[in-house]
Symmetry: D2
Subunit: 359 residues, 4 copies
């Protein structure tokens, strides 16, 4: 048998412009489903015509965690007291900022099951080089804890489900990592009707019944949306993001309200967007797509500077911009699909279903 070709190629489509915080971007999406590009373009156009999306991102930092085991439960009190010493926190903070001047330690928390303790470190200001130092850093932090610990313990694992990991976990919603992003817009009723052929009220009602009643009934967690993972996987694939984070990152809450003048106020909140536009794993095509996406009149990406701290700052801002764009494209996709479902339903209703009862 001949050996297969050395690379998968996935077509790239470029959507219409979307205006996010006043800057217009065309979005590269990598997907074999051509219809998606048209669908997202339709949403982007609607958002742009409505005056553009306002997006706001909060940087939650990054989480490292390890699970250790005490010799016995009697020593738990002593260990917990040790863990909460201000002097220990100082030592740990120092170790974090020593590993990289752009990092600082936010807090240290612990979770108990029997004599096993999951220790969770929240770091602020993730840097581009973070992924490469994380194993070394957490091992180092545990050494510091052990050195001054009044009780001995065994290290079980330097990864736990509390870290930003590839398993989807509720802790990623209740204790978010990466960026929490919210993108919102007010869409004039007339425009929504013209472009999407639905009224604000119909859109709101379908969102409420499908994405809240329906999702609660089907017991989704973070699944209060129609197809966030569709946009996210196409964008992540185009821009070299970690595909195994899709289950975590695609948590998404779509909210809808009517304004006093009857327009549609719609927003999309994503609690845990873990993105890294400087990932060394991106291929050259993916790197060029990131540059295409993030460079504009004011910004150039990747940064061209000699200072590591300045470079980190540019990357941090670029990650934030990328996260805001991601949530906005997801919003465009929601507008498009939900309108289409509502419209199809209405059409069906007119064409066929309502005749069911007539003779």
């Amino acid at each position: 048998m001949t050996h297969p070709s050395p690379a998968t190629t996935i077509p790239i489509g470029i959507t219409e412009n979307i205006l996010v915080n006043g800057i217009a971007s065309m979005i590269p999406l990598s997907t074999t489903e051509g219809a998606l590009i048209a669908s997202f373009s339709r949403g982007n156009k609607l958002l742009t015509q409505s005056g553009g999306v306002v997006s706001c991102a909060i940087d939650n930092g990054y989480t490292l965690s390890a699970v250790i085991s005490l010799s016995n439960l009697e020593e738990l009190d002593q260990f917990q007291t040790h863990l909460s010493q201000p002097s220990l926190f100082e030592s740990l903070s120092l170790a974090v900022s020593d590993s990289n001047p752009s990092l600082c330690l936010g807090d240290v928390e612990s979770y108990i099951v029997a004599q096993n303790v999951s220790v969770v470190f929240r770091l602020r200001h993730r840097t581009s080089s973070f992924k490469h130092i994380q194993s070394k850093l957490i091992t180092n932090l545990l050494k510091i804890i052990k050195k001054s610990s009044p009780v001995s313990f065994t290290l079980l694992s330097i990864q736990t489900p509390f870290s930003s990991s590839s398993s989807p976990s509720v802790s990623n919603i209740v204790k978010p990592s990466g960026f929490t992003v919210s993108s919102d817009v007010v869409i004039p009723a007339q425009l929504l009707q013209t472009v999407m052929h639905v009224s604000p009220q119909t859109f709101l009602s379908l969102n409420q019944k499908k994405n809240y009643l329906g999702s609660s009934l089907a017991c989704t967690l973070g699944g209060n949306n129609a197809h966030a993972s569709n946009a996210l996987s196409a964008l992540f694939l185009a821009c070299g993001q970690d595909m195994s984070l899709i289950p975590t990152c695609s948590a998404c809450f779509l909210t809808t309200e009517l304004t006093d003048s009857g327009d549609l106020h719609v927003s999309c909140t994503m609690p845990s967007l873990l993105v890294d536009v400087s990932s060394p794993l991106a291929s050259s095509v993916q790197k060029s797509l990131i540059t295409f996406l993030l460079s504009d009149e004011k910004n150039v990406f990747p940064p061209t500077t000699d200072s590591e701290m300045q470079e980190d700052e540019v990357i941090k801002n670029a990650n934030k911009r990328f996260a805001m764009i991601a949530a906005s494209v997801v919003l465009a996709g929601e507008l498009s699909l939900i309108s289409s479902l509502a419209q199809g339903t209405l059409m069906d209703a007119h064409n066929a279903l309502n005749r069911g009862k007539s003779p």
Copy 2:
């Protein structure tokens, strides 16, 4: 600005052979993280040297669902009675098999919130052409329900979170779609020690503490594994599967037991693997990788036959084989990562951590 290139290219790595139900396969994985190929190869080799994986797949069929709204709650009793009429079920069954001779209707269930009813249809024997007929089919089924309904209702949406969708949902575990696959193996203690440098007991203990205690504490749903989504996203990408299904499909339970002779009995169960090797959305490279993966001495894929029913049968079997391979590769990845975590921990323990307490 110049327009970006028309396709993302992601490198393809081919792993060592893995023996699944007696047939050896090399696995194409599409990822920019080169270390993954080595890691999965290591796991595949261990599985093959242990005599190969036994895999078993149960076909749960496919789920369609819609949500409708009654005029008022008083009519709910009547509607539920209507929905449970054997004569209605017969009409619905007929409509399903008319749409495609390879399909049959399994059951019809309903979920209530207020006067809104989510109607869920379970179909058996999903066919290759299913994706294209689903909107038309569910619209048709609702027309049939409406035609003879004693009470009127409004169609709200022909998609709900109860369908096999791109939002991860608990209902996909408790009411699985696609294949439920379990792959298992007994790994001799000596072999595990030689290849992975851990004992069965250490492996079992880490699985229990990280993937069960840890995952329960972090409130994951279906997240009782170390990195199932890593394997799955690389395999799905290589073989043209729907990337937006990763959140749903990567639910995975890794189980471990010691045999009487002290060897490691390990298995991987994935409740909802939605795969379609005949997807028309696969690119030509992806199609060739599916052929590379699924063709062996006994089988040729894609099928070459004039009969649609025969073709459906071949595709159904190929989907089953693909699902069994997927769960087995995930198992390989779990063996590799968990061993590595355990080994790293042990090494750290010897090198550094245990010295913490000494003067």
Copy 3:
């Protein structure tokens, strides 16, 4: 030390009448928190003045389950085939109806992890004496499966989390046991304003933001309500229901809509209400309270008849009525608390918060 007194006494309060499907009932609630009675009475009165609650209950039957272990995974296919034989289903059905003529077997499902199979039996028409026969019945059903099974298996446990149990479980929402009850009402805007001092719009908005956005964000499952467990525990305690089922039974979805005329359409859906008004565990006071609650001009409870089947029918209807009352009282409590929160917020806003920004 002297021995404590032989019984806990919890005060009983009797609420104002609530009209459920045209029949008025005063509700006995057992609680030491006196304010609750006033609060529920306020809600009951509002519901009654609005014309009363319409309630609809669907009997999901009762679930038995066991987990067994096959010798190895290779035999899973054979076992699943065995489990789906129509002849086996007939034998199992016969055994169920032999155990009690009021029972029949609905369906048999199975869930797989590795070679462990959870077998779940859905029974229709739970009878009063069910609790006493369940251990014997499930043991018997497993014997029948084993007798004709082509492969051997080991019984691990005759209870699993898939049964209606004392651990709260998502499966109780997605695969409900007991009654699924929905109670709804339209409350005129004027009346809501007069009695509860809130507008329909304010009530709806708070329900949406607290019980849907808030509950999704805090990752509750079945927790789309303000304090369903409050009403339920006081009612269950007064009427001798199993207190350990509160975590399962208190799942509750509160929904709100504005009618075209601007009134508040509000409903309360509880997916898994497991109730048994004939429980032999009820104390004599509790039994008298059940009689007080369920007896009216048309009905007498407990039934006075010689026929076991007639008795089962009366009990079945009484259980249904009790479930409908329970969901309606929960609705009353939600109206009262949410209005109070909204009103308090408004009051605070007027008194204090709005002055925050002024000099």
Copy 4:
């Protein structure tokens, strides 16, 4: 119709002694199910004969939360910056300790959906009088935030699902309130066999398959136990605890390991035990049962002191002791029921099931 009697009476049973951290206690349980007392007594005896339970409790403090709404998303950044000002934290801390000298503010966190912000306050050292001041305190804290806020906001509700509430919520596991308690013991194999008629290995295997594999498959959250809510509801009822907290408090992880000598190391961890032994809502019988349970040679409860701070200290310790006893009694109940299930299964196996395959 005559009015029903003014109180529900539930029988109280007193179990055998259980030794927790060296102090023996007989446990009052209020239940109409007489068999429970015998079952828990059996477990208590086993625990005591094994040398008693070691229990460890961590005080997580108490959570207050409110949800507010900003005028628009643009102001979110400013609001978040305001919320993280050290000077604001100082003002809030002062307000907390002014409300009661035993309280201090731990941290302030926020959760975002659209322009709605849930603000969560963690308080340390809950005092006896806490319940009465909480509405006033949170209203006061919000006034302080508003006073110096650069942007205006509207208060939506002074309760959210992030507070310790009567809706069960995952956030109570990932962000625990009240006490996190772990109780553990090593039970000699011989003793387990003699008293419970099971081996450590059988017990461990059933716990793993029922409470971990089974519970993960049925998607329970915090439900890794057999019947924690049974013990808890009987104890809470006897001792005047808030019954509506049962869904939250009964989250419980049962863990099992074999020691090197083949004995059973078993532990019970409950993440969010919200208890208040000084609740003014307890009836006089309930108060006497608390005194019966918590008074021993060294301690007297309720405290007799003139100093409010001393009184708070005694109550805090009594709450901690009560929480440790609660987790220990739950452990006793788990030992009893799981052994009984395993034993019944074995017996069945011997009597009947194993004959299935013989001619």
